[in-house]
């Protein structure tokens, strides 16, 4: 088990790494802004009055929904390439000689980096949302939105960790990531809330971790009840715990494979 001091050190390291990538974060922010602008035009041109009464939403609500879900994909997806390259370059194998677990070091570092990225994107998202929707997200929801987005982004990163480690068994990480990413976009409700989907698809979606990554945070823009808020955060914590266990499991088997075959 990693000591609290070491964990804090890794969090600080991740935060500083994030600070060091100021220029590299500028391009994703511009892309994020452009993408949200593209879809805000689409939502404004969408005949939303065709929706059934029970799931009816307004264009500004959908814009805020997208601002929150897209924010997660932009803030949590950077871990895949980092881990995949470390596997390919032998740094993962080299980590076997270290006294701390590779994943434990990574996860704390990412926490620091993710919190910083979320803070930057959240600020940009608030400005963008006000400008594009003409409304503002309920200020009472801001702290919980920040927590929910951070949890979603962090979970996104943890899922990518397990996928990137597949590279230990062969060149399967990239195709697996493509599929997982697109399943996340569909079942997580990246562009449209899951409540818009046909009933069977909603049922399938909620059996996967993807709604906990994206939809839970996005739903904060759709005037959720207090019970929904509580349920949403609980759902995120449950899936995060499960994904962390899965990541430790994948790492365990990857290490065993390396120790058995040497490559």
């Amino acid at each position: 088990m990693m000591s609290l001091r070491a964990a804090t050190g890794f969090v600080g390291l991740g935060w500083r790494r994030g600070l060091g990538e100021r220029v590299l974060i500028a391009v994703p922010i511009v892309t994020y802004a452009l993408l949200v602008a593209v879809f805000s035009s689409i939502f404004k041109a969408t005949p939303l009055d065709e929706l059934p009464f029970q799931i009816r939403v307004s264009a500004p609500e959908l814009i805020w929904y997208l601002i929150l879900t897209e924010m997660i994909t932009f803030t949590g997806g950077y871990t895949f390439q980092e881990v995949r390259l470390e596997v390919l370059e032998g740094q993962f194998a080299a980590s076997l000689a270290r006294p701390t677990s590779y994943f434990a070091g990574k996860i704390w570092g990412w926490l620091g980096q993710t919190v910083l990225r979320v803070l930057v994107f959240f600020t940009a998202g608030l400005v963008l949302g006000r400008f594009l929707s003409g409304t503002f997200l309920d200020w009472r929801l801001l702290p919980i939105a920040l927590v929910s987005v951070t949890l979603g982004a962090f979970m996104h990163g943890v899922v990518y960790f397990s996928l990137a480690l597949l590279e230990v068994w062969g060149p399967y990480a990239r195709p697996a990531m493509w599929i997982s990413q697109k399943l996340c976009f569909v079942f997580g409700g990246l562009l449209l809330p899951i409540s818009f989907y046909p009933g069977w698809m909603q049922d399938v979606a909620w059996l996967t971790p993807y709604p906990a990554i994206l939809n839970v945070a996005g739903r904060l823009a759709l005037a959720p009840s207090r019970a929904q808020l509580f349920w949403g955060i609980s759902c995120q914590l449950f899936w995060l715990g499960l994904m962390i266990l899965l990541a430790f499991g994948t790492q365990h088997y990857a290490e065993r494979k390396l120790l058995a075959t040497g490559t």
Partner: protein
């Protein structure tokens, strides 16, 4: 004239060599293509869900989105299946690998961009006719027009990728920035750009030519506007010429990576 024929032969040989290398491992080739195809279909399913709820999007229907998505997939697939090396030009500049191509008796650009084929691009290419036929309900005549429009888009994409990858000539630490810019370009260009203000449309048709990749071809196809189709073809040639000029300007600033004697 003879020069042109000579260059064509040279490029043909480079492409053939890259494609042979790409399909050498059949399992890998099929797996990557299949997964790329699957991810494209998954992404498109979001639009199928959208149009199951809404009748239209600013006059566009699922068929138009199928055209847009198909053209974008075909164009990106063609560009990088045939010219996968364009994605690595930036890294070659930073790593000094460009020296190897400068040592050859030809212009280094064809050697650089045709040296590799991205196998996943084949999955992208395969996505297009399936989406066009299944969701766009097009016959062979339409498919031919869409393919031609897609080829023009592929040239725009290749030119943009090349231009972004020339940035390391001017700032050596910008090869990651090139990747990010291209990723952003990919994301933006494969989305419908309906309802944009004029200024944004102007930017997307000039500085960042994302509008030429899928939006303009689909609009030209929808309205059978020959003028717009000609504009697309002209833009493809112009952007390619600009990208080559940008590469040549950058090349003058290039300092050797000291790998001139490496032979490949």
């Amino acid at each position: 004239m003879r020069n042109l024929w000579d260059t064509q032969q040279y490029v043909g040989l480079l492409i053939r060599a890259a494609l042979r290398m790409a399909v050498a491992d059949r399992t890998w080739f099929v797996t990557m293509s299949l997964f790329m195809f699957l991810q494209n279909m998954l992404m498109f399913s979001i639009w199928a869900i959208y149009f199951s709820r809404f009748s239209s999007l600013g006059g566009w229907h699922l068929e138009d989105l199928a055209n847009l998505y198909g053209i974008a997939a075909f164009a990106f697939g063609m560009a990088f299946f045939l010219c996968g090396g364009a994605l690595d030009v930036g890294r070659s500049i930073v790593g000094g690998e460009l020296d190897i191509y400068l040592g050859r008796p030809r212009h280094p650009l064809p050697g650089l961009i045709f040296r590799e084929s991205r196998v996943a691009g084949f999955g992208d290419i395969m996505t297009a006719p399936i989406i066009w036929s299944l969701f766009g309900h097009h016959g062979p005549g339409d498919l031919l027009v869409l393919t031609l429009l897609g080829l023009c888009s592929a040239m725009v994409i290749l030119a943009t990728a090349l231009a972004f990858n020339c940035l390391p000539f001017f700032a050596s630490e910008s090869s990651r920035l090139s990747d990010q810019l291209l990723e952003s370009f990919t994301i933006i260009s494969s989305q419908p750009q309906n309802g944009f203000p004029l200024i944004v449309k102007v930017i997307l048709m000039t500085l960042v030519p994302a509008g030429f990749v899928a939006y303009l071809p689909v609009e030209a196809f929808r309205t059978t506007n020959l003028g717009e189709m000609a504009l697309l073809a002209g833009a493809a040639l112009l952007y390619m010429a600009l990208a080559v000029a940008f590469f040549n300007i950058g090349l003058r600033r290039y300092a050797s990576g000291n790998r001139m004697l490496e032979v490949r």
